[in-house]
């Protein structure tokens, strides 16, 4: 159980001039600018849930995660992980959480992977039995047995990420924080990692907080998402309702004869947006407003479509739309 209440993190940075003379002035000036990386957010994650924590680069995702796992101390507000504040009771909380930062490995670089695990076994005081059981489970779901005796520095990115994931799960944490665990990985490894997270959640009821830019991760794993932008929460709720936020949006991609063009095509309704993409026509509409059947008829009869593909709006498109709207609003205010 994680409870986040009015959590805020402000970084103070000196206002810098440019170039050498600017830097020299910075040394003497006492001016600081405040960067509100996380700005008064509140949410709770119940046990056993997998939450997707998404947002653009610099939205404050990693900063929140770092406060939840005890690396950073909040400027104000609070985080409670199973009732404890991670920055005050760091050691107790650390025993119950596992953390992976996709960008930084936490394994020792030049020793064989299995030696890293042995040190972690001592650090987390894992019993022989538990260790054997966990290694069995992780060896299977993450497929790490093959490269256990290799030094971490010789592992490929995909192998290293699986190793990092295994290291974070070794002490059977109740909560797992994964900060971009699939970054830079190929489709197959991503798939493997998703399966492992799923398996872990199912087998041990582990709570997972996951940040990612890969919407497939979100769709495969998370029942709930929290969308963050400029340090504030834009959306917090089930994946489904976010998808339906703009109605039941559908996209029809049509292969049409050369004479059919977007500008000259007959109009069905102002609610159906027609555009051209690489010689194809793309129709975007809300199926709750304009029935799908009607649009299909229109496509074949009026646009003389030869072939068509129907797609639901992807979660990525929704997030993109929301962020674009935000940006436009922001621009208007300024």
């Amino acid at each position: 159980m994680i409870e986040v209440n009015e959590l805020t993190k402000v970084f103070r940075k000196p206002i810098r001039g440019e170039g050498l003379s600017g830097m020299a002035k910075t040394l003497l000036s006492r001016k600081y600018e405040e960067i509100r990386a996380v700005d008064g957010i509140s949410f709770a994650v119940p046990d056993g849930e997998i939450v997707g924590y998404i947002g653009a680069n610099g939205a404050g995702k990693s900063t929140t995660i770092k406060m939840m796992c005890g690396i950073l101390t909040p400027t104000s507000g609070s985080v409670l992980v199973d009732g404890l504040e991670p920055y005050r009771k760091r050691r107790q909380v650390a025993q119950n959480i596992g953390v992976v930062f996709g960008q930084k490995t936490q394994l020792w670089w030049d020793i064989p992977l299995v030696e890293s695990f042995k040190v972690l076994k001592e650090i987390y005081q894992i019993s022989e039995n538990d260790y054997a059981e966990r290694m069995g489970f992780l060896g299977e779901v993450l497929d790490i047995t093959r490269f256990l005796s290799q030094p971490v520095r010789t592992l490929s990115l995909g192998e290293r990420m699986r190793a990092d994931l295994a290291a974070s799960m070794l002490h059977n944490p109740r909560i797992l924080f994964l900060d971009e665990p699939t970054i830079g990985l190929d489709v197959l490894v991503k798939e493997k990692i998703r399966l492992a997270i799923h398996e872990l959640n199912k087998t041990y009821g582990t709570t997972v907080v996951l940040t990612t830019h890969d919407m497939t991760d979100i769709e495969d794993l998370c029942s709930r998402i929290i969308l963050l932008e400029k340090g504030s929460i834009l959306y917090d709720g089930p994946l489904k309702s976010l998808k339906n936020r703009f109605g039941n949006l559908k996209t029809l991609t049509l292969t049409v004869p050369a004479e059919t063009q977007a500008e000259t095509a007959p109009v069905l309704s102002p609610d159906v947006a027609v555009s051209e993409d690489d010689g194809r026509l793309v129709l975007r509409f809300d199926a709750d407003k304009v029935p799908l059947e009607q649009v299909i008829q229109y496509a074949f009869r009026d646009l003389r479509a030869l072939d068509m593909k129907i797609a639901e709006i992807s979660i990525g498109d929704v997030v993109k739309t929301i962020l674009e709207q935000q940006e436009a609003e922001h621009a208007e205010k300024v």
Partner: protein, 263 residues
């Protein structure tokens, strides 16, 4: 007890890391012997050039030099990681992993590296002491040996504590290596008898950055019976306790200011 066990597990890890690169290990071994040989030669030439210093004979100065190596070597064995913390690791946000583990961060820093090079300095210092002592006529008493042991061991505690406090400042300034370097360099002043310095520096080396307290004063006590060995021992242990407490206090205070880096 748990931490003793954990310390040895981590140290084993550090040594495995060292041995992982075969050629590197051979180069390290070679350079270790070479650099120690060089410092021995340097000491010899320095002592040759200054046959007597402020009334101290060649072998007495050599004894000072040899003894000053002991606490420095002991500190070197256990706390070398602090240099990396001060110069690089905080600035690069590389301390994250330590904050995620259910063990004190400072403990993990100590357990991160063990520098066997320290043994070489220890042997070298002891050898220099032995050679010089055999050429001196001093009345050795249990008390004077005792105060030397106290000076070496608790002197190491004082050096390490100073390093901890200076390295901890990196959490606030992002980089505190140069500061740590300045403080650490005071140890080189303490390699010579305090008598050669003006009163101000002497006071500084005894009361503020007390390298003189645990290096020069015990040696003076052995060679010339300058101080009461029991009282001096007490002063050194007391000073070490204060510095140790201060070092850990500064570290815990600064640790909370860690900002990591963006990712």
């Amino acid at each position: 007890m748990r931490y003793v066990h954990l310390y040895f597990t981590c140290i084993k890890r550090s040594i495995i890391s060292r041995l992982e690169y075969k050629k590197d290990t051979i180069v390290a071994l070679f350079s270790f012997f070479f650099s120690n040989f060089c410092s021995l030669a340097a000491i010899y030439f320095i002592l040759q050039a200054i046959p007597a210093l402020a009334g101290y004979s060649l072998y007495e100065v050599g004894f000072f030099y040899g003894f000053s190596m002991l606490p420095i070597a002991l500190d070197h064995l256990f706390s070398d990681e602090l240099w990396l913390v001060a110069y690089r690791r905080v600035q690069e946000g590389d301390m994250d992993m330590h904050f995620l583990r259910p063990v004190p961060v400072l403990f993990q820093v100590f357990a991160e590296t063990f520098q066997p090079e320290g043994f070489g300095e220890l042997i070298l210092g002891a050898a220099l002491i032995a050679v010089c002592a055999s050429n001196l006529t001093v009345t050795v008493s249990f008390a004077s040996i005792f105060v030397l042991c106290i000076g070496a061991i608790f002197g190491a505690v004082i050096i390490t504590s100073l390093k901890v406090a200076m390295a901890a400042l990196a959490f606030i300034f992002k980089r505190s290596g140069p500061l740590l370097q300045v403080i650490y360099n005071f140890s080189s002043y303490a390699k010579y008898p305090l008598a050669i310095y003006p009163a101000v520096i002497r006071a500084l080396l005894i009361f503020v950055i007390p390298f003189g307290l645990f290096i020069s004063l015990p040696v003076d006590t052995l060679l010339h019976g300058a101080h009461n060995p029991w009282l001096l021992s007490l002063a050194i242990v007391g000073c070490a306790a204060v510095f140790f407490a201060l070092g850990v206090w500064v570290w815990t205070l600064c640790e909370r200011r860690y900002e990591s880096t963006g990712s």
